[in-house]
Structures are given as structure tokens and as C-alpha cells.
């Protein structure tokens, strides 16, 4: 049953052919078997999940209407607030934080009758590209236990790849959905900034953060988008639907894009490892076989994307994380004797090394005397990169490039070299800076049988076309059907 897509499972549950209780029990048992070694989940919620599953089954039996994700076991990254369990952000400072509210996306999942089985591991406060920065758990790559799952949504990607849920939510600030999806061989979509409400998503870089689905297929990503997309009055930056309407992404999926023009930045892509470049070339070849045309485009400012990103994201983070001070909630130092010490000791004790590094970077970039040279300049670069995309999309429907320069790297390989770690975000960051949607879909393996992802980027609010383009490839290939051999304790 775990082989079913989320969509197929939902339809069978809604038709009364399968019960949600059965599906949920199977997932929870599998988590109990597999997850001690995999480490995808920070917390699971068996009792609540089984209750909800039973409720869906009861309603199906009673002939009551059920939602778009009726009875489907899903997972949520642990930086999305839930009224059940803790919302930790994989940080010691929020280890015991219990939110009094649900994130809007969580509310939407529940309204669609999804069964949330657990909350997934991540880099602390979503800062990282390997999930190694989690203060609470280590997650390994389902394809190779000695390697990282990518990050920061490594837990969600590992859980989906290992069939420990049918779909999951991740968040993407600089590639945190797409890169782990690529490393784990699953589909990861970062929607347009403003397409999905950020209310209840614990902020890292507010102007870059966006929630999106991690799934086993493009169709399931479309299904998840149907549930989570849309304007939210509680998020002023979510976009007015009269300006950018949401649509039925599943319905649009089947319509291939005629006369597809694919933009490629050859020079930029040359920086990726050979297997990655080869897989990209082959993937583009598949599209050409479908009649697509490849257009060489110039994106002259992409070289500055990483620098701009690490200034903007860390600047916002330094402010967003200021609230974790031990005064109102979260970890408070036992040793503090005055309020300044409450701040300094609580933060020193409970924030991780990478988080501290980024807070310091961001604080520095915003400091008087440095603001113009760093933050303001980064904003200018950001605008230029936006301009590059606008210019590029005059010539093509979408841009294809690698998701990451390499496949999954070894655990511990880059932890002492933050700069190399930062450089691994080179292909994903630009979409966040420009706010445009981007997807990672499985497109091959390297010599170590590690998955490779194909990244497709499209203009703002064209998720429907982006998914349709991705689906064109998926229909022609079997990469997404490949499954890691994950075994449990027996």
C-alpha cells in the first residue's frame, strides 16, 4: 500500500476501498521500524493520527464528504507551528515550545482531512544544507546511510523517499526544499513567494521563506498545492488572488506545454559535477524529444546570488531570532542573574553554532556604517537578479539547471567548512531572491547510485505550467519510481 501515490490512496480511502486506519497504522509501524536509523522525524503523533484516521473512515462510511487529502498520512517540517506536540525548529531553545496556534498550512492540511503523523527533522531554524545542524536528531540519506539527506528540509525529504509518509511539507529559503528532494530522489516544489501563507512558519529569512510540498510524484505536489496555496489574511505578504488566482493544479497537470522553450545558462551549469551535468543534458534531451526548443540565455548576475543571499537571509534572521531571549518562552538560563544575562546566557547556551554564525553575520550586515556596503548592496543585487529572470523569461518558458553541484555528500564532510557548504546552494538561491517558483524532480543517479535532481524554474505564479512541464518529463521516465532500500530493525 505504501507504493500508492497520495492521490491514489486518498481516492481509495474516499471510495471506501481502503481504510485510513490501515494506511496510517502501516506508516506508523514503518516509522517505528525504520526511523530509529533514518532519523527523519523529531516527533510522531500516533494517538492523534489514529483518531483522525478513524474519523475519516467513519465519515466515509456515513457517506459524508471528505477532503482532498482524506485519510492520507503526511508529515510537516518542525518549523511549522502545531497545537499538538512541540514545535522545536530542531533547536534546543525551542525544544519544549508548545504553540497555541496552528500554522495556516497545518490548518489547511487538517481541513483537507490529512492525517499528520509527525514532524520532521531539519537544520536548526532551517539554517543549513544537510540537516546536520539539527540540535535534536541526526537524519541520514535513505540511499546511503553515511551521507546527508540535504537540508534544511532533510527530514521531510528522507521521510517521503523512505515511504514514511505519502507527502510532506518543507520550507525553502535558499533551496531547503529542492536540494534535499534532489539528494533523496523525490519531488520538491518551492512555490512563488506569496503563493502559500507563511503564518505559523517560524521565520528564518522572511522575504525568502516559502512553504512547499515534498512528494513522490509531480501529481502529488499538484495535489498538495491545491490544498495549501492561496491568500491568507494573516499573512500580508501572501498574494491577492484577484491579482494572481490559484487554480486546480491537478487538473492543469495533464496539459503538456506546446512549443516549450527551455532556457539554459551553459556557463553557469558548467560548475556542477560531471554526473550532474550529464543527467541535466539527458533530461533536456528528453524534452527536446518532445519537441521543446533549447534557448541559451544570459543570467550575468547569478554569480552574485550567494553573496547577496547570505547577507539578506542572515540580516533578516538576526532580527527574526532576536525574540528567542528566554524571557517569555523557550530555554532560559539557570545562571542568569539580571535581564541582560537572561538574554546572553540563554542564547549562548541554547542556540547552535551555525545559528550563532548567521546571527552574527546578519547583525554585522545591518550595523550602522556597514548597512550600505552590505545589506543595501545585497538588495540591489537582488533587484538585478530579478531583472535577469524577467529578461530571461522573455526568451523562454522556463529555465533548467542543476539543483545542486553534487549529489549527497558525506556526513561531516562539510561541517567545518561553512563556505563550501554555502556554495552548495549556488543553483537554488536565485529563485528565492527573485521570488519565482522552482521545482526539483528526479532525473537520474550518479555512479554511487545517489539521486540527481533536475531543477525547473518558471515565472512568478505559473506553478500550474511549472508542474505541467515537470509532468511531461515524469511521464517519459521512471526515475521517480526508484526506491531506496531502507530496512528497519528486523
Amino acid at each position: 500500500m505504501e507504493q500508492l501515490s497520495a492521490k491514489a490512496l486518498r481516492d481509495r480511502i474516499a471510495a471506501g476501498e481502503t481504510s485510513s486506519v490501515e494506511a496510517t497504522e502501516a506508516i506508523l509501524s514503518r516509522i517505528e521500524d525504520v526511523d530509529p536509523a533514518l532519523g527523519a522525524y523529531i516527533s510522531t503523533h500516533r494517538e492523534m493520527a489514529m483518531e483522525r484516521a478513524a474519523d475519516v473512515d467513519r465519515r466515509v462510511k456515513a457517506g459524508e464528504p471528505v477532503g482532498e487529502l482524506a485519510g492520507v498520512p503526511v508529515a510537516v517540517k518542525d518549523n511549522m507551528c502545531t497545537t499538538f506536540g512541540a514545535t522545536t525548529c530542531a533547536s534546543a531553545i525551542l525544544k519544549d515550545f508548545h504553540s497555541p496556534y496552528n500554522a495556516t498550512v497545518v490548518e489547511k492540511l487538517l481541513a483537507a482531512d490529512a492525517v499528520i503523523v509527525g514532524k520532521t527533522n531539519m537544520d536548526e531554524f532551517a539554517m543549513g544544507s544537510s540537516t546536520e545542524n539539527s540540535a535534536l536528531r541526526r537524519t541520514v540519506n535513505p540511499w546511503d546511510g553515511a551521507r546527508v539527506p540535504g537540508g534544511s528540509s532533510g527530514g521531510s525529504a528522507a521521510a517521503v523517499a523512505s515511504r514514511l509518509c505519502y507527502a510532506a511539507l518543507g520550507s525553502d529559503t535558499g533551496g531547503s526544499i529542492r536540494q534535499p528532494a534532489s539528494f533523496c530522489g523525490v519531488v520538491g516544489l518551492k512555490p512563488t513567494y506569496g503563493r502559500v501563507s507563511r503564518f505559523g512558519l517560524v521565520a528564518y529569512g522572511s522575504s525568502l521563506d516559502q512553504i512547499g510540498p515534498i512528494t513522490r510524484s509531480v501529481a502529488d505536489a499538484a495535489l498538495m498545492m491545491n490544498v495549501i496555496a492561496g491568500r491568507d489574511a494573516a499573512d500580508s505578504t501572501s498574494v491577492d488572488e484577484t491579482i494572481a488566482p490559484v487554480c486546480d493544479y491537478l487538473e492543469k497537470l495533464a496539459i503538456p506545454v506546446e512549443g516549450l522553450k527551455i532556457g539554459v545558462v551553459s556557463e553557469f551549469n558548467a560548475g556542477a559535477d560531471e554526473p550532474v551535468r550529464e543527467a541535466l543534458g539527458e533530461a533536456i534531451g528528453v524534452y527536446e524529444g518532445l519537441g521543446a526548443e533549447v534557448v541559451e540565455i544570459g543570467m550575468p548576475r547569478l554569480d552574485y546570488a550567494i553573496a547577496a543571499y547570505y547577507v539578506i537571509a542572515t540580516a533578516e534572521a538576526s532580527s527574526n531570532l532576536a525574540r528567542y531571549d528566554g524571557v517569555h518562552y523557550g530555554h532560559r538560563s539557570e545562571r542568569a542573574r539580571d535581564y541582560v544575562k537572561v538574554y546572553t546566557k540563554s542564547r549562548a547556551e541554547a542556540l547552535g553554532k551555525e545559528v550563532k554564525r548567521r546571527i552574527m553575520l546578519g547583525t554585522y550586515a545591518l550595523s550602522s556604517g556597514y548597512y550600505d556596503a552590505y545589506y543595501l548592496k545585497a538588495l540591489k543585487v537582488r533587484n538585478l537578479i530579478r531583472g535577469d529572470f524577467t529578461e530571461a523569461f522573455r526568451k523562454c518558458d522556463c529555465i533548467m539547471m542543476p539543483v545542486a553541484p553534487t549529489t549527497a555528500f558525506g556526513i561531516g564532510e562539510k561541517v567545518d567548512d561553512p563556505l563550501t557548504m554555502y556554495l552548495s546552494d549556488i543553483y537554488t538561491i536565485a529563485a528565492n531572491l527573485a521570488g519565482v517558483p522552482a521545482i526539483s524532480i528526479p532525473c537520474g543517479f550518479d555512479g554511487n547510485r545517489l539521486p540527481i535532481g533536475l531543477q525547473i524554474i518558471s515565472p512568478a505564479f505559473t506553478e500550474d505550467r511549472l508542474l505541467a512541464i515537470a509532468r511531461m518529463f515524469e511521464r517519459q521516465t521512471d526515475w521517480h519510481k526508484a526506491e531506496p532500500t531502507v530496512s528497519g530493525g528486523h
Binding site: M80, T87, F199, T237, R323
Partner: protein, 490 residues
């Protein structure tokens, strides 16, 4: 040293005005003074993880309305910024404010300076921001924080240093209070901290033809008109004494902060050196910029009314009212508008003024309501004023009638008849009474005709006798005229 010394005090004001919206600036919590600590809070104003602010449109419109009344240019595009500093009463450890693009700038306020004149104080800017909570310092060696006030909308107004005395600062404060109350954008209640002042004060001292500027002192958080005036006056003397003793002049970095000790009626040093405050302002990524459309701006502007100071000047010039009376009538918008309507209904201005200031407002104050709530209409007051003017009732009787109007709601003329307060002005009828009195009081008649000292007194006696005979209903003016005619002058 030595030689004649002259000095001038230079003051710029920073004023915080609490806007009287029902809910807070960025969340739905009620703005309420005196509620149980931490009972008017929600995840947003508590700064919990993942929450987002949503702008209160009412607050924005109130701020624009106030800025228009302060003759400011209104920005058609304005944005929000984060001002970062750590303090326990600020749960996010940043305040949402406006930095480089305030909603308004370059205005002025006219303040009364005595003798019917006004002085123009320039306003640098007025912007919106959220208030912090309150730290309650208890005696047990710890502090408590009440966050009910956190997130209350504040209008911050910054003036140029155009103020040259404590009295002028007070006049400005009083005028501003009248303006915001007139517009209904703030209750302006000093007891509830609705207006808080922070003057920046220094002196220009001239000695032997050379000008010296003393170091700037900022007095923090003054919340009464008296403290504002006295604080500035105190600083004026203190800085002069200090300059004469030390000769210290203003230089960068020697600005100090002082507090007002109300008990000792003096300022006390709080911070020796202006700390190099670095608030690390940057654009608030969780809010979208506000664009003010022409139509919306016009709609807000249509809510403006004639401001108190121009009304006050008009009353003195147009109606010849005393400055004191004009000040009383313009104290509240409702009173001024009542007065205007009574005058428009044909009431003679001075008579209407007397009725309102001497009787109407007294009753309103006793009852704790506005002049418009007493049950009499502007038209009724105008009619009563006309009756006094025509000599139908005496001034004394008119007060009695106005009181009766409050009690009964009847028309003034009806009441005058019911209470027998109508004056007899029929010369023929009165002449007979006068004849009778003259016949009965020969000695007094002789005294009058004899002239000299006794004459005036005797005349008064005769007048009194006539009044007594008519039980006070004779018009004394008419009686005097008849007496004078009969006795030849007087």
C-alpha cells in the same frame, strides 16, 4: 570671562500620541487601559514564533488625518521598518516603526503665544509605530512585564527645535491635545499616558559677542504638561549655571539623557554619554508597503475640520470675544461646534458665549457630559440670547432659564413665561408705577434733583422701588430711562 551674558533656550520635541483605535496596530487585541496585566495579548503581540503582523487600516488613516492637521506632506508610498533593541517589554526585541520613508513630513503647528498671536513650530516628520509594554518593577528583586500596551498604535511627531521656552512647549502640547481630540484620533488623556513628551534642550549663550551652544539634554518620558514646562524651565537654568561654571559646550557624543523627578521638581542624570545606539533598522519583510491612492487621501482629508487655534483666533477677531472665552469655547470640538451653530441660528455671539461658558459648561461639567448632551439645542440657546438682547429677560434670569431648559427641554420663551421671568418693557404701564413710586418717596426725589453725592444713590433706590413693585419683572433699562426723563437727568 565676565561681561554681560545673554541666553536663549532651544527645544525640539519628540511626541508620542496613542491613537484611539479599538484594536492594536498589528493584531486584533483590544486597546484597553487598566485591564488585568497580560490579559489583552495574543500570539502576534507576544511575538511568538512564526506569527505575522497585519496592519490596522484605521490606525493608518488616523495617523494620516492627524498629519494632515499638522500641515504635513503625506507620502503616497510608505513602508515599515524594524528597529532592533533588546528590552523585556519588547517581546520581539524589535519594534515595527518607520525609518526612512515616514508616512508624513514637513509640517507645522501654530501655537498660541498670548496677545492673540500665534507662533509656527515646524514639524520634521510624523510616523506610525507600535508601543512597547510596561515593565513593572516590584520590590522582590525582580521585574514583571505587562504586555497589554504592547502593539498599541503610536503616532510619533518630531518637531524642529523651534521652541524657545517651557511655556511654548506646554502651549504646543495643549494645542496638539486639542487637535487630536478634535479629530477624534486620540483621547489625549494624559493620565493614561496617551501623550508622552521627550524634549531635546540646549542653550545658545552669548558672552562678549561670542555664541556658545551648551550640550544637548534629552528629558525622557514626560507625561504631563506641567512636567514638560517645568522640566524645560529647570534645564534652562541648570544648563546656564553649568555653562557659567564649566564653560562646557556641545560637541558630538556629549548629549546626555535626564529624567524628571516630580517630587524634587528637578531633572536627574540618567545616561552620561549618548550611547552609540545602533538600532539596525531595515525594511520589515513581513509587511507590504502602503500605497495611498488619491481618492483615499481625499476621503481622509474630508474628515478634517477647522482646527482649534484658527477657531480661537476667529472668535476673538470676528466676535470680539475675550481670548479666555475663545479658549474655553474651543477647548472641545463639540462645544465649539455648538457655539458656531447657535451663532448661525441668529444668537448674538457674546450673549451665546456667556450662556455657554457661564451656565452651560458648568452644568455639563457637573454632569460629566458634553454641551450637546444637555437637551437644549443651538437654536434654543440662540433664541434665549436674542431674548436677553431684546431686553425680554435679564441676564440673571437667562441663566435660570437655561438651567430650566436642561431640566424640562422646553423652549426658552415658554419657560420665561412659566417662571414669570419676562421683563416688562411697556413704557406706558411702567410710567404709572414710576409715578406712584415718586409720589411715595419725596425725600429720594429731592435728593436726586439736588444733585451731588446723594443723587446717584437715591436714583438707585427709586429704581429698586419700581423693581420691587413689579416683582422684578420690569426691564431696569426702561425704568431708568423713564426715571431719568421725569427727574431730568440723574
Amino acid at each position: 570671562m565676565g561681561g554681560p551674558v545673554e541666553h536663549k533656550v532651544i527645544v525640539g520635541l519628540e511626541i508620542h500620541v496613542q491613537l484611539c483605535t479599538r484594536s492594536k496596530m498589528f493584531c486584533g487585541c483590544a486597546v484597553e487601559f487598566g485591564a488585568e496585566p497580560n490579559s489583552r495579548v495574543c500570539p502576534v503581540c507576544l511575538g511568538m514564533p512564526g506569527v505575522l503582523p497585519v496592519m490596522n487600516r484605521q490606525a493608518f488613516e488616523y495617523a494620516v488625518l492627524a498629519a494632515l492637521a499638522l500641515n504635513c506632506e503625506i507620502a503616497r508610498f510608505t513602508k515599515w521598518d524594524r528597529k532592533g533593541y533588546y528590552y523585556p517589554d519588547l517581546p520581539k526585541n524589535y519594534q515595527i516603526s518607520q525609518y526612512d520613508m515616514p508616512l508624513s513630513a514637513n509640517g507645522f503647528i501654530e501655537i498660541p503665544v498670548g496677545g492673540g498671536g500665534t507662533k509656527r513650530i515646524r514639524i520634521i516628520r510624523a510616523h506610525l509605530e507600535e508601543d512597547a509594554g510596561k515593565n513593572v518593577h516590584s520590590t522582590g528583586g525582580f521585574s514583571q512585564v505587562d504586555l497589554n500596551r504592547t502593539g498599541t498604535p503610536l503616532l510619533e511627531i518630531v518637531t524642529e527645535p523651534d521652541i524657545n521656552s517651557g511655556a511654548e512647549a506646554k502651549a504646543l502640547a495643549v494645542e496638539l491635545q486639542r487637535i487630536v481630540r478634535y479629530l477624534g484620533v486620540s483621547e489625549g488623556d494624559m493620565q493614561k499616558g496617551h501623550m508622552r513628551f521627550e524634549p531635546n534642550i540646549n542653550l545658545i549663550v552669548t558672552r562678549d559677542g561670542t555664541e556658545y551652544r551648551t550640550p544637548i539634554v534629552e528629558i525622557k518620558n514626560l507625561n504631563s504638561f506641567r512636567a514638560l514646562e517645568r522640566g524645560i524651565d529647570y534645564e534652562e537654568q541648570r544648563q546656564l549655571d553649568e555653562f557659567l561654571e564649566t564653560g562646557q559646550v556641545m560637541e558630538s557624543g556629549n548629549k546626555t539623557t535626564r529624567g524628571w523627578d516630580d517630587e524634587r521638581q528637578m531633572t536627574v542624570l540618567q545616561r552620561e554619554k549618548e550611547e552609540a545606539h545602533d538600532y539596525r533598522y531595515f525594511p520589515e519583510p513581513d509587511l507590504v508597503p502602503v500605497e495611498l491612492a488619491e481618492g483615499r487621501l481625499n476621503e481622509i482629508a474630508s474628515r478634517l475640520c477647522e482646527l482649534p487655534i484658527s477657531r480661537q483666533v476667529r472668535y476673538v477677531k470676528e466676535f470680539g470675544l475675550s481670548e479666555y472665552d475663545a479658549g474655553v469655547l474651543t477647548g472641545e470640538r463639540a462645544t465649539a461646534e455648538f457655539f458656531d451653530r447657535a451663532v448661525e441660528s441668529g444668537g448674538e455671539a457674546k450673549r451665546v458665549c456667556n450662556l455657554l461658558t457661564q451656565t452651560g459648561l458648568k452644568i455639563a461639567n457637573e454632569r460629566g457630559c458634553g454641551i450637546g448632551d444637555l437637551g437644549f439645542s443651538p437654536k434654543g440657546v440662540a433664541e434665549l440670547a436674542a431674548m436677553v438682547e431684546a431686553g425680554d429677560v435679564s441676564a440673571t434670569a437667562s441663566a435660570q432659564i437655561l438651567e430650566a431648559m436642561v431640566e424640562t427641554g422646553k423652549e426658552p420663551r415658554v419657560l420665561a413665561e412659566e417662571l414669570s421671568l419676562l421683563q416688562k418693557s411697556d413704557a406706558g404701564e411702567l410710567e404709572a408705577v414710576v409715578e406712584q413710586v415718586l409720589a411715595e418717596n419725596r425725600q429720594a426725589v429731592e435728593d436726586v434733583t439736588a444733585g451731588g453725592k446723594k443723587s446717584k444713590k437715591a436714583m438707585g433706590f427709586l429704581l429698586g422701588q419700581v423693581m420691587q413693585k413689579t416683582r422684578g419683572q420690569a426691564n431696569p433699562k426702561v425704568v431708568s430711562q423713564i426715571l431719568a426723563a421725569k427727574l431730568g437727568g440723574g
